[in-house]
Structures are given as C-alpha cells and as structure tokens.
Amino acid sequence: MRTAVPEFPEARLRELADRYAAAIAAKRRRVWLGAAVLIAVAIAAGWMGEVSLGNFVENFWRFPAYFISIAPKFSFATAWSDLADWLWGLRRWARLLGDTLLIAYMGTLSGALCGFALCFLASANLVKSGTTVFVTRRVLEFFRTVPEIVFALIFVLAFGLGPLPGVLAIAIHTAGALGKQFAEVVENIDSKPVEGVAASGGSWVQVVRFGALPQVLSNFVSYALLRFEINVRGAAVMGFVGAGGIGQDLIEAVRKFYYTDVSAILLLIVLTVMLIDFLTEQLRHRLLGLEGSTR
C-alpha cells in the first residue's frame, strides 16, 4: 500500500523555514540583550561594591588558611585527649546552645501567636473594612522588613543585655513573616464553610473559629515549624549584639583568635541546625501526611 507523505511546495517550505529562523533569531536577540543588561548591572554593582579581583587573588589564600588554622590538633595516638582539649568548653557551649534553642522557641511561639491574631485581620475575604486590612498589612510589613538584628540592637538598649531582647526581636520578626504567610493561606481557603457559618448566624469570631480555622491549621503549623528552623539560625547570631545565646561566645572566639574554639562552636552550631532541620522536616511530613489521610 502506498501512502502519500504530505509535502509542502518549495516556496511554502522556504517561507516556514524563514519564519522559524526569524523566531529563533528574535529569541536569541532577547537572550543576548538580557545577558548584556545583566553584565552591565553586574559591573556597575561591582564598582559600587568595591569588588577588587586583585585583592581577591592576593588574599584568597587566607580563606583556606583560616579553615586550616581553626582545625583542631589531632593525632591518633592521643585521640581522646586531643578531642577533650578541642571540646574543653562542651558543657558551657551545650548550655548556651540550649539557651539559643529556647530563645528561638520562645520567639517563634510568641511571634506565631501574634501573627495568628493579626493574620485574620489582614485577610480581605474575612474582613470587610479595607482600612483594617491595609493598616494590618503595613504593620506586618514593617515587622518583617526591619531585620531582627536591628530590633535586637534597639531592644538591647531598652531592656539591657541578655536573652530577653533576643526573644522579643525574633518574636516581632516572626509575627511579621508568619502574619503575612498565614494571611495568604487564609485568603486561599474555600469560602463555602465561611459562608455557611455566617449564614446560620455565627458571629465574626465563630466564622473564623469554625469556618476558617479548621481549613488552615495544619498549614499554619507547617509554616511555624519552618520559621522555627529559620529562627534557630537567627538566634545563633543574636549574641553578636549581646542578645543572648551562643553567638556571644562565637564572636569573642573569632575576635580574640581562639582558633580551635571557633571551629568547635561552629561545628556545634551546624550540627544543631542540621538536627533541628531534620526533626522539623519529619514533623512537617507527618503533619501533611495526616492531613492527606483525613481528606
């Protein structure tokens, strides 16, 4: 059996090929233009940011050298005593790490509660008044955009040195960040339960409690856990400005060139952060899994 392969006439074929070439060329031009703009901006930023390749090449050896100098002395013959020398302050550092985790926890919890209270006011589908939504959103934006270290700097002056300013700074930042994320979740909920509660005579609080909350709670907890992860990192450097936790010891060790202490504290921080990441990830997966099974 013969089949006819449909073939365009030569002229039509050439026209199509030309169009294809033109389309490709236009795309290429766009890519090149984008690359040129990117490079120009990068050069301008490099000039502004005092990038100096000479300096970089000349001093780069210090970077690996630093890591070599902070590496602990270690030989297999005296492995245990070397290890004990390196981690001489383990008890103190472990306590400070515990403090850091508690600062992160207390900051996250109180911030999450504030964000929880504010998020419903920032959701356009639950609040009729446009002004309330606008004002709440701007307040959350302010809380979120000012870095927590800046809050900590100011709070250290107001409340004195110690963990309290650290907790408050993290709480404020968390309230802003979670308030926004929570509000986004609330704005994406199914409106039927909300309308149902409102139609059967529920007050605003009842609408939120029985219409909105059951839909969003697992997402809220998931976001709060993620934020806890971020806050552990943040709390580890709070001590840089005197706001408690292990950061104080770290910056002292760096400034006073206690090299092996730097590596020991860094290692402990990294291990703690990894552990917390792992645990919260497990928790979040279980939480989302639970949600999936009940649906």
Partner: protein
C-alpha cells in the same frame, strides 16, 4: 429561623451520635500538645532567667525611644549622600551575592540531583556539604571574609555568595529532581547522550523555576545585606549600628525607612520580573 433550641439539639444529637460524640482521645492529644508547648515556654522563662521587672521598664524606655525618633531626620544633606552611597553598597552586595551564589550553585546542584548523577555517594556527599554551608549564617561568613579581604562591601559580597551557594544548591537540586523525565528520555531515545539529555531535556524545564527562585532570594538577600555591616562588611548596616550606638534616634528612623522603601521596591521589581518570566500561575 434561629430555632436551634436545646430540645432540637438533643434530637439531632440522638439521630447523629457519631458527630456529637466527644472524642476524648483527640482532646487528650490536643491537651498534651498545648501543655507541652506551654511547659517548654515556662521552662524557657526559668532557664533564660527572663526578668519581668525589666520588661515593663524596657517598654517605657522603648516608648521614649520612639518619641525621640519622630520625626525622622537625617541631619544634613551630606549625611543623606553618605547614606545613599551605603544603600547602593547594600544593593550591590545583594545583587552580586545572589548572582555569584546562583552561578556557583548551578553545576553543584546538578551533582546533588538524583536524576542527573546516579552515583549515590556523590549526591549524598554534595547534599551534606551544601547543608553544612547552609548551617553557617551570613553574618558568620561575613566575619570570616572580613578577616580574609579586609573591611568593606567586598567581604559582604563574598559572604552572601557563600551562604547563597548552600541555599541555592539545595533549592536547585530539589527543583531539578521534581522535573518531568519524559523530555530527557525523548532526547536519549533519539540518540542524544547523557549531557544532551540534561541540556535539552532537563534545563529548559527547570530554568524558569530556578530564575524565579533567584529573583525571590534577591529580595531576601537585600534584607540580609542591610545587616552584615554590623560586623564591618559594608553597606547600610554599618551606619545603622553606629547611629543606634550613639543614640541618634532620628537618624535611626530615617535609615530604617530608607531600608523599608528599598526592600519594598526590590520586592515589587522582582515580583514583576518573576511574573514576566514564568507567568502568574507558577509563582506560588
């Protein structure tokens, strides 16, 4: 209509016992969870020795600070120029840091993605390496780089590159792993080798996603670039920390407002660009 009286309720409860039965198991679990959370909070108060008397005093003092901050006032035009220059440094740090981090992370993220490199050892090692880099905060990287290249914004750029390298490596490799494998298989079946399948089957799919993540991080890096000046790595953080230490509250508020405006405008621009690149639906 509101005839939801008690006899009515009793009738309904009788007809649907499953709905109205008290689930003690569930309630017990909730009580334990809430109790645990509150208990940990109380433990924190005891362990961290939170002074409640200072809480109220501090609030009063904070109120005074806020009063002193108003109205925001930079002092003189020379100061304004100095601050704008510092702001330019901050944006440069964020831009070059994000760009450098993304460029470095791209090849490494291919190594860390299970569907590109089948070797288990390579990908586990890369993952753990990236996790370690990510575990170190930008401020700590800044401290290290200040020791290497000296004070100034260049150290800040290198610090942001380092911390973004870890973040992007993880995000990119995750994006690559969830990519559809059919295009790559198509390239393989029509005679392409492994590199071809990555270049023509995989990268075109994930590139817009990666770009959108980079743009998102540009905004968040602007925020972290505002603070690394605190350890001497350039940018507006240096000015801010200085003005807070000398209690020039009006200048502090001016600087904070400057940062707010910059971050919001970068947020806006990067949002627009993301929409333009990948379309509205895929942004979330």
């Amino acid at each position: 209509m509101s005839s939801f009286s008690f006899e009515n309720r009793a009738g309904i409860a009788e007809r649907y016992p499953d709905v109205f039965r008290t689930d003690w198991w569930q309630r017990g679990r909730i009580a334990i969870l809430v109790g645990g959370a509150v208990g940990l909070f109380l433990l924190g108060i005891v362990q961290l020795d939170i002074p409640f008397n200072r809480l109220s005093q501090g609030m009063v003092r904070l109120g005074e600070f806020v009063q002193l901050m108003l109205p925001p006032n930079p002092g003189s035009w020379a100061e304004v120029l100095k601050y704008l220059h510092a702001l330019g440094e901050t944006v440069s740090i964020a831009f070059l840091g994000t760009l450098g981090g993304a460029l470095l992370a791209l090849p490494v993220s291919l190594l860390a993605a299970r569907n590109v490199v089948a070797n288990r050892i390579i990908h586990v090692l890369t993952r753990r390496g990236l996790d370690t880099i990510r575990g170190v905060d930008t401020l700590i990287w800044a401290l290290i780089w200040v020791g290497v290249v000296g004070l100034g914004p260049f150290a800040g750029i290198l610090a942001v590159i380092c911390s973004d390298f870890g973040t992007f490596g993880k995000l990119f490799s995750e994006a690559i792993e969830v990519a559809d494998k059919n295009p790559a298989e198509g390239v393989r079946s029509s005679g392409g080798n492994h590199l071809h399948s990555v270049r023509f089957g995989l990268l075109p799919q994930v590139f817009p996603v990666l770009l959108s993540q980079v743009l998102y991080y540009f905004e968040s890096n602007t925020r972290s670039a505002t603070i690394i000046g605190i350890v001497g790595a350039g940018g507006i953080g240096l000015q801010l920390a200085e003005q807070i230490r000398v209690l020039e509250w009006q200048k502090v508020l001016f600087l904070i407002l400057l940062i707010l405006i910059t971050v919001s405008s970068i947020d806006w621009i990067s949002g627009k660009l993301r929409f333009a690149i990948i379309g509205r639906r895929a942004v979330a």
